[in-house]
């Protein structure tokens, strides 16, 4: 009970803070950065469920992000379907693909799983680039309609920002609820000891598949929101580098904590905006963060702070 109330409180605080944030900004452009951060955070929270809680790596999550984005773009633009249909189709398709890929893939572990998800990501990336009639190829897909739902059009960046924050808050709430349930316990059990999990009656294959699909769906939700926000998408946003960036966000924020992924996503998305010379050292810095985090701070920023607080009190 206690944990539940605390979650509700933190999420309300987070929501309030996020909603007030744009008022403190001097430059409208930053709303744009915040939206992208929020979208990345949605993917990262999902990836964290897989990576941090269930202990299964995916180096192909950007592919799910992109798959949903392209599906809704193609359906709503080329085929003029209503946006809501495009969005649903995008999310459902991603779930389906994750399910089909997941059945054989999740039998693998460690290096094999990393390789399989990575290979999947690269195949999808190549398909985005090469099916030019469908996707527009490397130069991108243009003319995607801006999101409008139930007659309301999210034309201003600010309204879109509120939408993204709202979705993120719901995703967070659900994730926290999930973690504190028997399902969350089963996932964490699989992470530490598959043997002991089995003995407790947990069907590990089923749970791995479940969380893989769920995290892909979250990536899909962020993907459709991304497409209908930017109105333009290109394969380069959904490649191997982006998959690695997503993993970096989760690792940096802290794999054992739902909030870690959010912190990591906002930090790494906004960082380039604040470092002028960043473009040149971007990679270098990401690499450095990954190494240092894994070596000295395996629980990430949020996990590290929590530990510190616990030690002090």
């Amino acid at each position: 009970m206690n944990g539940f109330k605390r979650d509700l409180l933190t999420i309300s605080l987070f929501l309030a803070g996020m909603l007030l944030l744009p008022r403190c900004l001097t430059n409208e452009y930053y709303v744009n950065v915040l939206i992208i951060s929020g979208l990345n955070a949605i993917v990262a929270v999902g990836l964290n469920l897989l990576l941090g809680f269930a202990g299964q790596i995916s180096l192909g999550h950007a592919a799910f992000y992109g798959l949903a984005a392209y599906t809704t773009s193609i359906l709503t633009t080329t085929y003029n379907l209503p946006i809501i249909a495009g969005i649903l189709a995008g999310i459902v398709l991603v779930g389906l693909v994750a399910y089909l890929i997941g059945i054989p893939t999740l039998k693998l572990s460690g290096h094999y799983l990393a390789m399989a998800t990575l290979g999947f990501g690269i195949i999808v990336y190549i398909v985005f680039n090469e099916t030019i009639e469908l996707t527009g190829g490397p130069s991108g897909f243009v003319g995607i309609p801006r999101l409008s739902l139930f007659g309301y059009s999210f034309d201003s960046d600010l309204s879109y920002y509120y939408l993204v924050v709202f979705v993120l808050a719901i995703v967070l709430m659900f994730s926290l609820n999930l973690i504190r349930s028997r399902i969350g316990r089963a996932l964490r059990a699989i992470h530490t000891s598959e043997k002991a999990a089995q003995i407790s009656g947990i069907d590990i294959a089923r749970y791995k598949l479940f969380i893989f699909v769920l995290s892909a769906i979250l990536a899909g939700i962020a993907g459709v929101l991304y497409a209908h926000y930017l109105e333009f998408i290109a394969p380069s946003s959904f490649g191997f580098n982006h998959s690695v960036l997503l993993v970096t966000m989760v690792v940096l924020g802290g794999m054992t904590n739902v909030w870690g992924a959010v912190a990591g996503a906002f930090f790494l998305t906004m960082l380039p905006e604040f470092l002028r010379a960043f473009e040149n050292i971007e990679f270098l810095l990401y690499g450095f963060i990954l190494i240092v985090c894994m070596m000295f701070l395996p629980e990430g920023i949020v996990g590290g702070i929590q530990k510190l607080v616990r030690k002090l009190t």
């Binding site: 693998l108 094999y112 195949i123 990679f283 270098l284 990401y286 070596m295 395996p298």
Partner: protein, 301 residues
Amino acid sequence: MLVLGETVMVLLDYIQFLISGLTVGSTYGLTALGFTIIFNTTGIINFAQGEFLMLGGMLSVFLLKFLNLGLLPAVLLAIIITTCVGALIERFTIRPVQKSSTINLIIITIGISIFIRGVAMLLWGKDTYALPSFSGDTPLSFFGASMHPQSIWILSITLVLLCLLKFFFARTIYGKAMLACSFEKKAAYLVGINVQRMVLFSFMISALVGAIGGVILTPLTMTSFDVGILLGLKGFAACILGGLGNPFGAAAGGLILGVLESFGAGIVSSAYKDAITFIVLLLLLFVKPSGLFGQAEVERV
């Protein structure tokens, strides 16, 4: 006659595909070999393996162009520097965290690879560089198919390197000691092998092999700061194709992958040549994760 002519043409094409496939495939094989050497002594998959190839090529270009060294000294120096980088990686990032879980080690080596790539980009920018061929660019004719002289260099150096490694692991006590570490670590300690040092050596040898692969490939394909990604991934794919942990399976996996890719590009579509690699790989992983030449033991990791 027309039909016969066409058959000959097709045959010629096939020979051409085979040659270019084997050429590229041998660099995949070398990369895969690098993965295997480290994996066998430590159980780690070094996702930064591709960067050794990049460093080999880029450093050669840099030493040749900007320091005005001759081709041979530049290449040799580049290989030596890369080998040292391998040693540094082991000493400062792998050794302190050896007991970490697989997932953490994967993330660390990915971090290393991004870091090295970042440094390379900072130093040399995003341009593409060329390295002169070792012996001119005049194509040689081979059963009517044309062949770049560098291909011969690549094939022969790969072959020599394979033989040397085979000799090292099968005939010298140090090679055997290195294998011993992977088979039975505890017993390796007990016969007086300094396992820690063997791990260091394995990183150095694998960096060396990677650098040589990078150097010989560069005159044919050019190089830039990010060539390591795809080369590394394909090397890893070759590794799994041949059976993780089996050095000669890895080399064979590389050749098979190269040929497959070359035929795929020639017959199906060049656009999907990279996809072919990974589709084959995924299918293999689903059907037989132990690889074509591996034992049925997947739970090594």
